[in-house]
């Protein structure tokens, strides 16, 4: 399953001009577990999806209470760039959303 099918809500937005943050909300425990246990939702997985160095991924976070994940990375073209194509960062989720959710064995059982 791709992340796009797995998540109910995919919220892409600036967190300040230079950082992009993508909030992911999942409709049930099963789909949340698949996403949380995936290789895609790791620093390495996000870096690969966007084709950037891992150092540009600020973090991948989870909140079990609301079955949500957050992915933050430094923008490759910020709103400070005269040729920025997406000023609000509202449409930069697709490289991540297109990713397949393959289990990351090393992540272990979700907490």
């Amino acid at each position: 399953m791709r992340l796009y099918e797995c998540a109910d809500i995919i919220r892409s937005k600036n967190a300040g001009p230079f950082t992009l943050t993508i909030d992911l909300f999942f409709g049930d425990e099963e789909r949340y577990s698949i996403a949380k246990g995936s290789m895609l939702l790791t620093v390495a997985g996000v870096a690969q999806a966007y084709g950037v160095e891992e150092s540009r991924v600020k973090g991948v976070y989870f909140d079990d209470r609301i079955r949500a994940a957050k992915v933050s990375l430094l923008r490759w073209s910020s709103s400070a760039d005269p040729f920025c194509a997406d000023m609000f960062g509202a449409h930069l989720h697709t490289p991540l959303a297109d990713g397949e959710l393959v289990p990351a064995l090393s992540k272990g059982v979700p907490a």
Partner: protein
């Protein structure tokens, strides 16, 4: 034991929903001690800060029903105004506020915080003070220099709660600021009344976008909370929305890089131990922590990068769709190598970017689809040059090369593409970048700012407008 502090919060750069009066009435039935709304932000990019223009949000009209209720009930309002929030933006909003007061026969005494930073002040801080360091590693900025200060059109600071508190302490009817930290506006009055910083900041974070933190989220709606020493309860004043654990926790994520940790002037808000419980009337929130840190303010400054002109072409010809990128690349090369432009390109006075909508205009090099799969595409040639004349000339040159330039297999020798807009070259505007996004260390949180108490409508302000309109 301090008394609870009740906040009615909303967003003042978003127009209120049609039934907002019902929400306001409900909130005041529960009790309100302060009405707070943010109206500044950097989300719209550096253009507004650099140009001095104002986003057409009519912020005075948006606050009108709330100001009416606040004045009737004798509780203060706290607003930040002007999106980019420099003096010129604030003044535009204050003139609308003058007119609104005049029209309604109101005469509130308002504390005004002008949060634009004087360039002389900032230059002295850079020369004599501790380093003013970059706030975002992604910006490629270095510690602030005197040249950065000189090159910036304007610089603003996101003020904390302290200047607002200073003015509220003078017994004003309300406080209006320029650029401000959103949660600082919400923290100001509760902290003055003895609410712990952690509780005030946590509440501010949940209330700062108004009804967006409710379910369904809508920033045109309001939100209400009652704060005490250990936490606060959030309620929806609207019957069309409700507060839920999910809506509030997910809002703590919104537009923040980290879900539970947020650096603010004087400390960091830590929500890693925060709890949210449903009550009979709303959601009880508690468990926030505040970790003290040296006091720093975020500065935003904009530098002019040039002038933008664009030209737009529509492509429907199948053969050209197959080779759209090589066609636009060829036109770009012709621009760059034209003798009349080569020196400007070499000196960095001329930049050109061609976006093909239908191919990769949104994602650029990250776009995995390398071919146009639809039946038509749009080509936007975006030129940023030192001055308007050069930008227009380059955009026109590029348009002509695209329109008549040969490509393999061409059948359409009378013209390669559709021109939807006449004149074909559209002069857009000056272009700016965020050249300053730095942290200014401050011993006194009020020092760089100009505080005043002014009676609205200000003497002459409305008449001047009227006289101007008559001319």
């Amino acid at each position: 034991m301090s008394r609870p502090v009740r906040i009615l919060g909303f967003v003042n750069h978003i127009a209120p929903v049609p039934d907002i009066e019902d929400e306001i009435r409900q909130a005041f039935e529960w009790g309100v001690d302060v009405v707070v709304a943010q109206g500044t932000g950097s989300d719209w990019g550096p253009y507004w800060l650099g140009s001095g223009e104002q986003v057409s949000a009519n912020q005075a009209a948006n606050v009108e029903p709330y100001v009416r209720a606040a004045l009737q009930h004798g509780v203060p309002f706290v607003f930040s105004f002007g999106i980019a929030g420099a003096d010129v933006h604030l003044e535009t909003c204050l003139r609308s506020f003058d007119e609104m007061c005049e029209r309604n026969g109101w005469s509130p005494e308002v504390g005004v915080v002008r949060s634009e930073i004087g360039k002389d002040y900032l230059a002295a801080a850079v020369a004599d003070g501790p380093p003013v360091v970059p706030c975002s590693e992604g910006a490629g900025h270095q510690p602030l220099t005197l040249a950065d200060v000189a090159d910036a059109e304007r610089v603003v600071a996101l003020i904390g709660p302290e200047p607002v508190q200073e003015l509220l302490g003078r017994g004003v009817d309300g406080v209006i600021t320029g650029r401000a930290l959103d949660i600082g506006l919400f923290m100001a009055l509760p902290m003055m009344r003895g609410i712990p910083t952690a509780v005030a900041a946590h509440a501010g974070k949940l209330l700062e976008c108004g009804g967006l933190a409710l379910e369904p989220g809508d920033s045109g709606r309001s939100i209400w909370a009652s704060l005490d020493e250990t936490g606060f309860e959030v309620r929806s004043p609207s019957k069309q929305a409700r507060a839920s654990v999910r809506s509030l926790v997910s809002h703590t994520f919104y537009e923040r890089a980290h879900p539970t940790l947020e650096e603010n002037p004087g400390g960091a808000l830590d929500l890693s131990q925060a709890t949210y419980h449903e009550t009979a009337t709303g959601i009880r929130c508690a468990g926030a922590q505040w970790h003290e840190a040296p006091y720093t303010l975020l500065l935003e400054g904009a530098r002019r990068e040039g002038f933008r002109a664009v030209t737009l072409l529509g492509v429907r010809e199948p053969e050209l769709l197959r080779q759209a990128r090589t066609w636009t690349d060829a036109a770009e090369r012709e621009v760059r190598s034209a003798p009349r432009f080569a020196a400007h390109v070499a000196a960095g006075r001329l930049r050109i970017s061609t976006r093909i909508f239908g191919l990769d205009a949104v994602l650029g090099e990250l776009e995995p689809n390398r071919a146009i799969t639809g039946h038509e595409a749009g080509v936007l040639v975006d030129v940023v040059a030192d001055n308007e004349e050069l930008a227009r000339e380059v955009a026109y040159f590029a348009f002509i090369r695209l329109f008549i330039g040969p490509y393999p297999g061409r059948k359409t020798t009378a013209g390669n593409a559709a021109a939807p807009i006449m004149p074909v070259v559209i002069p857009v505007s000056d272009v700016y970048t965020f050249s300053i996004y730095h942290l200014l260390p401050l011993a006194d949180p009020l020092e760089p700012f100009r505080l005043s108490v002014e009676r609205f409508p200000r003497a002459g302000a409305v008449k001047e407008e009227a006289a101007h309109a008559a001319v």
